[in-house]
Amino acid sequence: MKILVCISQVPDTTSKITFTDNNTQLNTTGLQYIINPYDEIALSKALELTEGGNGSVTVIHVGESATDATIRKALATGADEAVRVNAAPRDAWFVANQVAGYAKDQGFDLILAGRESIDYNGSQVITFVGELLDVPSVNAAKKVALEGTAVVAEREIEGGKEVLSIPLPAAIGTSEGVAEPRIPNMRGIMSARTKPLTVIDPVDVPVLTQVIRYESPAPKGAVTLVDAGETEKLVDLLHRARVI
């Protein structure tokens, strides 16, 4: 079992998000970056599936050299080797082309990524990769198990769930609950320093989309408090607000 896991880095969940240059750039001053939590779940799943010498896990990341700490953390968590595509991750289409460009002749059985990144909240990369490599995909699996040469994945649907059997090779996006989260231990951190990290050049990808500006949500006005004994008043306010 040869698994490739796509890792992105995102601002920490609790970060305050502000913009500069007339709302055209993310204000990165003081931002702490972490591995996208859903990608961490994907990595944990890959490590679980290859446990006991049952295969290898490669992580791939698209980013400039400042992101090496993120990659080392993935290696410390247990990945065997890492590939960094030396380019700023312009958009999901760009990233997916880099992943597919690397993966196409490497013989991976499974490509995993988080179901979405918590920065741009796109859930595009893993499905783009599936399409570019012409393999089946599930964009947000809640359970993943191997059954012979197929992967059985459970995905959410509106009001329920669906269980799919997908022949390998396949591209799967992971949701919370797919695997027990793993964290680096001291041995992992030591060995991460010597694990191979290969840096490759990006492939050319035409520009199809670009973010031109940002907007912060309109600040909420102060909350209108209603006395606990006056629920009728709340009903009246909701009626006036036309939400019931």
Partner: protein, 325 residues
């Protein structure tokens, strides 16, 4: 350059999000001075297909082959791309649902189209470029994404665009795509769907509760309140982690992100991870006995009080209101 909209159906009926997508497609078509073709895949009643005209579709193309009855993203993406080519569509609208998210990137890649997912408003049109407002940073911002490719795919968030009924029936015709067996290798082993409940991502009203409820045995009053409001029920992460409620009800950063018209949070403190999944709600009501709960800072209306006291009263007050109206 027309607009193509894929309308997702469940058990022969269109979902509300499909009607929203047609309304949105119609509004985009008006911006561009063109008309809307809707594409339906699976067994859908003729009357349902025709009724898409009421939301602005001029034509409906229907694919009803037996082997394409159930959603397989590869096959459906291929069909949508073929329909886009044959209808000459320059803009393709897909609902940003669980299935839509597994579909839109494939359609975009096949067409060489730029994709904006999580759209929350009509695009700005400047010549051949569309700029789409989409959610970003888990509800903490919006990003305006320019689609500069000749063809464009927009995935519209549920509950983000209101239904617009324009009257009229659509012209329905069969569409016969070529589908390669290679796109049908995924096998559906099981589909489990609660039939009588409002699906959470589509619900207009959501009643949600947290640890303040103290235990799963106390959810009766939450379900009762949801019932009188015709609402879906949801919960916070600690509640689903503790197994008090199913994971499918968990809203927040790592659960489902929702944007109902009304979100009622009961006994939930409002941690940032929870707010990330619900802050797009249009109106937020918070009921919490702790006046310092951070959730009050983002709420429109609040009651400081004990849930066990307030919720039954609120249910009674809503029942009285519904009885009078």
């Amino acid at each position: 350059m027309s607009v193509l909209v894929y309308t997702e159906s469940v058990a022969g009926k269109f979902k509300k999000s499909a009607h929203e997508a047609v309304s949105y497609a119609k509004a985009v078509a008006e911006q561009l001075g063109t008309n809307v073709t809707a594409l339906s895949i699976g067994d859908v009643d003729a009357s349902e297909l025709q009724a898409l005209g009421n939301y602005g579709a001029s034509n409906v193309w229907s694919v009803s082959a037996e082997r394409l009855k159930n959603f397989i993203n590869q096959a459906y993406a291929s069909i949508i791309a073929q329909a886009a080519d044959q209808s000459g569509a320059s803009v393709i609208i897909i609902s940003n649902t669980f299935s839509g998210r597994g579909l839109a990137p494939r359609v975009a890649a096949k067409l060489g189209a730029g994709l904006a997912d999580g759209a929350v408003d009509l695009p700005e049109v400047a010549g051949d470029v569309l700029t789409v407002k989409k959610t970003a940073f888990s509800g903490k911002a919006f990003a305006y994404t320019e689609l500069v490719s000749p063809k464009k795919v927009i995935a519209l968030n549920p509950n983000a665009f209101e239904l617009r009924e324009v009257g009229g029936n659509a012209q329905v015709e069969a569409f016969n795509p070529v589908v390669d067996d290679r796109d049908l290798t995924t096998v559906i082993k099981e589909i489990v769907r609660a039939v009588d409940k409002v699906p959470l991502p589509e619900a207009e009203i959501v009643v949600s509760a947290g640890r303040g409820l103290k235990g799963p045995e106390n959810w009766g009053m939450i379900e009762e309140l949801a019932d009188v409001l015709g609402a879906a029920t949801a919960c916070s992460k600690p509640v689903s982690d503790a197994g008090w409620r199913p994971h499918a009800e968990h809203v927040g950063q790592t659960g489902i992100a929702i944007s109902p018209n009304l979100y009622i949070a009961i006994g939930i403190s409002g941690a940032i991870q929870h707010l990330a999944g619900v802050s797009a709600s249009k109106t937020i009501v918070v009921i919490n006995k702790d006046p310092e709960a951070p959730f009050f800072k983002v709420a429109d209306y609040g009651i400081v009080g004990d849930a066990f006291d307030v919720v039954p009263r609120l249910t009674a007050a809503i029942r009285a209101y519904k009885g009078n109206s």
